[in-house]
């Protein structure tokens, strides 16, 4: 007898529906799996057979053939156990094949029949709704995640027995998951804890307002990391769509937080400097999202940037331009979103105190070698560069608190709304994403600003790329000032943040 059920395979960020077909016929007892299953998926037969036997269901001693269609996609992951079990049960007549019509299943079986959670449930459920499935059956562990998709019934099951019960009578399922409306504001550390550092605060606010990348340079202990960690707290809140998009990414990466799967706060990823290039970009034969994708719509913070391997850093160049990464593997090419703010922190020299010559004892060669670990093309992509000086005792002990994150965020929100309105017809939403033609269109300079820019261009000899970067930052500063035109003051300020130039360092 033949039966089939729907499940899904995840390739990169794409979800492909896969039909699991089972046939039980006369012949020598065997269990064959065809249709390009990976080793993990092939193991499903042992898990399924044992789990069924341990639940008192004995498969008839017949020839069982399972096929995964379409056969051209490699099937990977443990989520195929449940659909294999369901289709085999239906094909051997234990449940009716009709109950599997219009159902999408995914889940991992344990030998005693328990069903474990798998990754990628949210994008699967979204696909199930698009395909018009009656309902989606997922491990109980993933129920909240699946239930995020509006207009789709999702059933969570704990055991093989429950699976059979609810497959036969889906109406009996009562979801007992409580959906507390999210009230807990993500508790990012607050900017009010930072004393002094007015210059760095301002630079960070500009960076966040226009979605610009930022580099913080300063001696050890000056607060670079502290400042960077507070960046997500001043970013505008995620919209529901953005949150869902992020939840999808984290679902595929298998990194959703327990209990509250919908991601509501902007990610802050801070990979250690031993991070490999593949961990940053995403890797594997069937690539998983890397750090840059996990930092999508949030912050990728590289602390001690010169300590990262050159290869890791250079991989960032293309995603920083394109806001996504395209990985090509034997199995095809995979696109992952990677629209993040790059925040980097570094010491100015190996000992960390340059240019304070009373404390720095590095040689000129050491300093330039240290700075040289970061390539100029990468530095060129960082729009804002600011120095974070060491804090003095009097600053540290001043009683007044710094400005709070909430107040900064409300200003950021204003600047963001101005940008959203301006770029309504374009496919961008921030000044940091402006491209060549758009820069000319949206960055009109006042005559005075024009003069200043031409003087600066001659005097500081910067490249065409840094010229455009300065215009974008000036655009953001003007927006924060609620000015439609870019004035001389805005240009002048943007010039002080221009990207780091090694030439003028040592």
């Amino acid at each position: 007898m033949f039966a089939s059920v729907l499940t899904a395979a995840i390739h990169g960020m794409e979800v492909y529906p896969v039909r699991v077909e089972a046939d039980v016929s006369n012949g020598l007892p065997s269990f064959t799996m065809v249709g390009f299953p990976s080793a993990q998926v092939k193991e499903a037969q042992d898990r399924v057979r044992t789990a069924l036997r341990n639940n008192g269901i004995n498969l008839p001693p017949k020839r069982v053939t399972v096929n995964f269609a379409p056969t051209d996609i490699k099937k990977e992951g443990a989520g195929f156990d449940m659909p294999v079990a369901a289709s085999v049960l239906a094909a051997s007549g234990i449940i009716s094949p009709n109950v599997l019509e219009g159902v999408m299943l995914a889940g991992e079986l344990s030998l005693n029949g328990e069903i474990h959670g798998v990754s990628g449930i949210l994008p699967m459920a979204v696909r199930a709704r698009e395909l018009g499935c009656r309902y989606c059956m997922v491990p109980y562990h993933n129920l909240r995640e699946g239930a995020l998709v509006p207009g789709l019934e999702v059933i969570g099951v704990r055991t093989l027995r429950e699976m059979i019960t609810y497959l036969e009578e889906p109406g009996r399922f009562r979801s007992d998951v409580a959906y507390e409306e999210e009230s807990c504001v993500p508790n990012h550390a607050d900017f009010s804890e930072i004393k002094g550092q007015e210059g760095a605060r301002r630079a960070v606010e500009i960076a966040v307002s226009g979605f610009h990348n930022i580099l913080l340079i300063g001696p050890p202990g000056s607060g670079k990391t502290m400042i960077a960690r507070r960046i997500p707290g001043i970013m505008p809140e995620l919209t529901y769509e953005e949150g869902l998009e992020l939840t999808k990414i984290y679902s595929i990466a298998g990194q959703l937080p327990e209990g509250n799967p919908l991601i509501r706060s902007r990610p802050f990823r801070s990979p250690h400097h031993t991070c490999t290039p593949l961990a940053l970009t995403g890797g594997g034969r069937n690539p998983r999202p890397g750090e840059i994708t996990l930092a999508h719509r949030g912050v990728l913070f590289l602390d001690e940037m010169p300590e990262f391997s050159r290869r890791s850093l250079e991989t960032l160049r293309q995603p920083l331009e394109d806001k996504e990464i395209c990985l090509s593997r034997a199995g095809g090419s995979f696109r992952f979103p990677a629209n993040f703010i790059l925040a980097a922190a570094m010491n100015p020299c190996p000992c960390g105190f340059y240019p304070d010559m009373n404390r720095c004892h590095c040689t000129a060669g050491e300093v330039s070698h240290y700075i040289g670990k970061i390539s100029q093309p990468l530095l060129d992509r960082i729009d804002i560069c600011t120095e974070v000086p060491a804090v003095t005792f009097s600053q540290m002990n001043q009683p007044s608190e710094g400005e709070s994150s909430a107040r900064i965020r409300s200003r950021v929100q204003h600047a963001r709304e101005i940008q959203l309105a301006r770029y309504a017809g374009e496919n961008i939403s921030f000044n940091g994403e402006l491209q060549g033609r758009q820069i000319r269109k949206y960055c009109p300079l006042s005559p005075e600003a024009e003069r200043l820019m031409s003087r600066a261009f001659e005097k500081m000899e910067f490249s065409a790329r840094s010229y455009h970067r300065i215009l974008k930052v000036a655009r953001t500063i003007a927006d924060m000032d609620k000015s439609a035109q870019i004035c001389a003051d805005h240009i002048a300020e943007a010039l002080t943040y221009r990207s780091f130039d090694k030439k003028y360092w040592v």
């Binding site: 002094g196 550092q197 007015e198 210059g199 760095a200 605060r201 301002r202 340079i217 100015p348 340059y354 240019p355 010559m357 009373n358 720095c360 590095c362 040689t363 000129a364 060669g365 300093v367 330039s368 560069c385 600011t386 120095e387 000086p389 200043l452 003087r455 600066a456 005097k459 500063i477 000032d481 001389a488 003051d489 805005h490 240009i491 002048a492 300020e493 010039l495 002080t496 943040y497 780091f500 003028y504 360092w505 040592v506």
Partner: protein, 298 residues
Amino acid sequence: MEETHDSIIHCIDRNSREFPEKLKNIPNSPKCIYYTGRLPEDRSPTIAIVGARMCSTYGRIQAFEFAQFLSRSGVQVISGLARGIDSEAHKGALEGDTPTFAVLGSGVDVCYPAGSRSLYQRILKNAGGIISEYPPGTQALPMFFPARNRIISGLADVVLVVEARERSGSLITANYALEQGKSVYALPGAVNDALSQGCHRLIYDGAGIAYCPEILLGEWGISKKNNKKTQEKNKIRLASDMKLVYSCLDLRPKNLDEIIRKTGFTPGKTSSLLMELKLLGLAAEVGRQNYVAINEYD
């Protein structure tokens, strides 16, 4: 590579007529020297400006200004093409009217450090010369540098040490100069500045205090033709806000935050005023967002 006039390497030995007179009389005089471009004029006044590679902005600016002033007054500036003070001295001299000369610790065709290549070219283009006692092709080795210093001081009448830590290669040059009977001057700095300790030590030991470039001219009895510096004083009217920001600046680098606190302006306003000052040539940015005053205005 095609041999141009500039890249011809000459070798002259001590007995040659061309051999610099000043170098013949020093202890341990080199047997022969190689040079490309020209040799310093024997009869022209010559000064060696030396100092730390890792120098402060103060030292950098002073080295440049001293060299520029002296070069305009007809003094040949000699240094070692190293990073920091040496490079600034060459750069300053290139802005003057008199050729400048570099003495290397490697073959004259080996530009060390490689980052000074453009400076190397500019020196040759401006009728200056590159000098070394090592045959062409010799790579720079640490042990060559102290020996090279005796040639730097030997070619000069006066040695000016701009910035030096207490144990610095520049002090070796100063010692050679004393051995060779040349005058030594040192640039004073702040008492608590590690980079000025070597200079202060020299002053204590009897070196001249180079508190302004004019006093160095006295060594050759040159009187100041016309003080270009006063001529150059900027006749700029500054707005009061900008005056306030400018008044916060001095020769030590000030961070943006310090200036913000002193003026009470917003970060945005402060940085745009600083950028204006920079473009007017009154301030310079050293490192990122650290500023110094570099010129006076009227």
